[in-house]
Amino acid sequence: MTMESSAGLSLKPQHFEAARDCSADELWFEVHPENYMVEGGPRLAWLDAIRARHPVSLHGVAMSLAADDAPDAAHLHRLAGLVDRFEPALVSEHLAWSTWRGAYRPDLLPFPRTNEALVRIADNIDRAQDRLGRRIAIENPSHYLEIEGHDYDEIEFLTAFARRTGCALLLDVNNVFVSARNVGGAAERYLDAFPGALVAEIHLAGHSVDPTLGDRLLIDSHDAPVDAAVWALYERLIARIGPRPTLIERDDNLPAFETLLAERRRAEAVLRAPARQAAALA
């Protein structure tokens, strides 16, 4: 895959035709595989048509790796089917739980970073990678709560399970910004300490402010353009670790496809000028 210094876009049904027909260089698309876990019909046919012209990345939201239970075998089976069919360039998941005791909650739920959780999550990642027959990347979460009982800070935790399982990491820069604002810490320090060699993909997204608390609580809502502060963090990151496939992640309040392409061009300008960025920072 030659996606290293290219940026991709979230793919939404409203943009299917524009996405399929877009001829921008090295454009790739990311989808949530759960939206394609159907037995047949037009959804899969649409994604086939996209895949015929563009690389595709599968970004799962529902493996529930941090649940105190093994990933659902049927879910892994369906994901493996999509991996076989679409041969994605990247496969990723979240460090979160959602399915628990037979019910699915459409969110990315938090947990204390304990030794117990580390063992469970590493085992779950092993199971997923074994079933899919490939390496997956795990994304750092957005935080809204101060949780008690952590045995590790987040970067130690991510690094520890990545070492145990051989998985990669997906670094969401907006999540870092939102979390730093919500639960404290400095986004720059977090990014500077992040193990760059493990980063297989970067996410950039917009956030919003809580309707009642305002900017004291930021929501990782993916419904707005990437924030200026997040662009600055991204430039700092790329200057340090070099280019990585970068997604402009947009799930809601969709603008015109052309608007997303403009954000993508901005990311590519950063990816293709790491030296210039480094000089600017020095």
């Binding site: 759960e34 047949g40 959804r43 939201v61 909650r105 459409p106 204390p112 809580d210 929501i219």
Partner: protein, 269 residues
């Protein structure tokens, strides 16, 4: 360090607190109560509820159009609390919603709502069913008379059908699922039936009478063509079976044709 199985206890407590909006915090485990007391906990509560309710609104568009988005979302919020999705494919979320609406007291004056929900559900199921080529009418036309009694027609993977007694559910559903402008003609209160099936990627629907529904029910349970014909005639002795077969084949209602090896039981009795 927290003791073993603490993760499980955390998840049980967190999951309960997510849906228990009115729970007093002193009823929760203390470590969960301290999370619920933080403003950020509402982000998780809102995201979970919004994700489920948005999905129901998207998956039941005709119901939403009939009752309005506000009513639909309020009803969905009640449904969600006792019916979280079992699977993460939210496109498929809502099995059981029609039964919920049938028993939902505020819907008592809208007796057709549950039937309309059922047809929205049919549409989703047809949209996502496995791909299968419909069988060609010519194959059936060329069956020898002796083979007809041993032939089983399997309904297409996407085919769904229903008969509604004394309620024009199909007309109401059509007007709200794919509304035409100016369709102000009065709805006649009568029995109606429908066949929903996907053809070349598009979900289509066609009128189906009670005999046709009985015929497809028999086919779906693996009975032979002659048995299915008897089932249709039992519902309506004057049913035009040739015309029914032609219409079903034309609609792409069948996905497979099996000719049984064994002599049918009727002839050996």
């Amino acid at each position: 360090m927290i003791e073993a199985r603490a993760l499980q206890r955390f998840q049980d407590g967190f999951a309960d607190a997510l849906l228990a909006i009115n729970a007093r915090t002193d009823d929760l485990p203390p470590e969960i109560a301290r999370l619920v007391a933080q403003p950020g906990f509402a982000v998780y509560r809102n995201t979970v509820m919004k994700g489920c309710i948005d999905s129901l609104q998207a998956n039941y568009p005709s119901v939403a159009r009939l009752v309005g988005d506000e009513w639909l979302r309020a009803a969905a919020a009640v449904f969600v609390r006792t019916n979280l999705p079992r699977l993460p494919m939210l496109l498929d979320y809502g099995a059981g919603f029609e039964d919920f609406l049938a028993a939902f007291p505020p819907a008592a004056e809208l007796p057709y709502l549950s039937g309309v929900a059922r047809l929205d559900r049919f549409w989703t199921e047809a949209h996502t069913a496995r791909d299968e080529a419909p069988i060609d009418a010519a194959i059936v036309a060329h069956l020898r008379p002796a083979e007809l009694a041993r032939t089983v027609l399997r309904p297409h993977a996407s085919a769904r059908w229903a008969w509604f007694d004394a309620q024009p559910i199909v007309t109401i559903w059509r007007r709200n699922h794919a509304p035409c402008e100016d369709d102000a003609t009065e709805i006649e209160w009568r029995d109606e039936g429908v066949l929903v099936v996907r053809r070349e990627g598009a979900v289509e629907n066609a009128d189906l009478d009670a005999a046709g529904c009985a015929f497809l029910d028999a086919c779906a349970s693996g009975r032979t063509l002659s048995d299915a014909a008897m089932a249709a005639l039992a519902v309506n002795a004057r049913s035009d079976l040739a015309r029914l077969m032609a219409r079903l084949l034309d609609a792409g209602a069948f996905g497979r044709l099996d000719i049984l090896d064994d002599e049918p039981k009727e002839q050996t009795r």
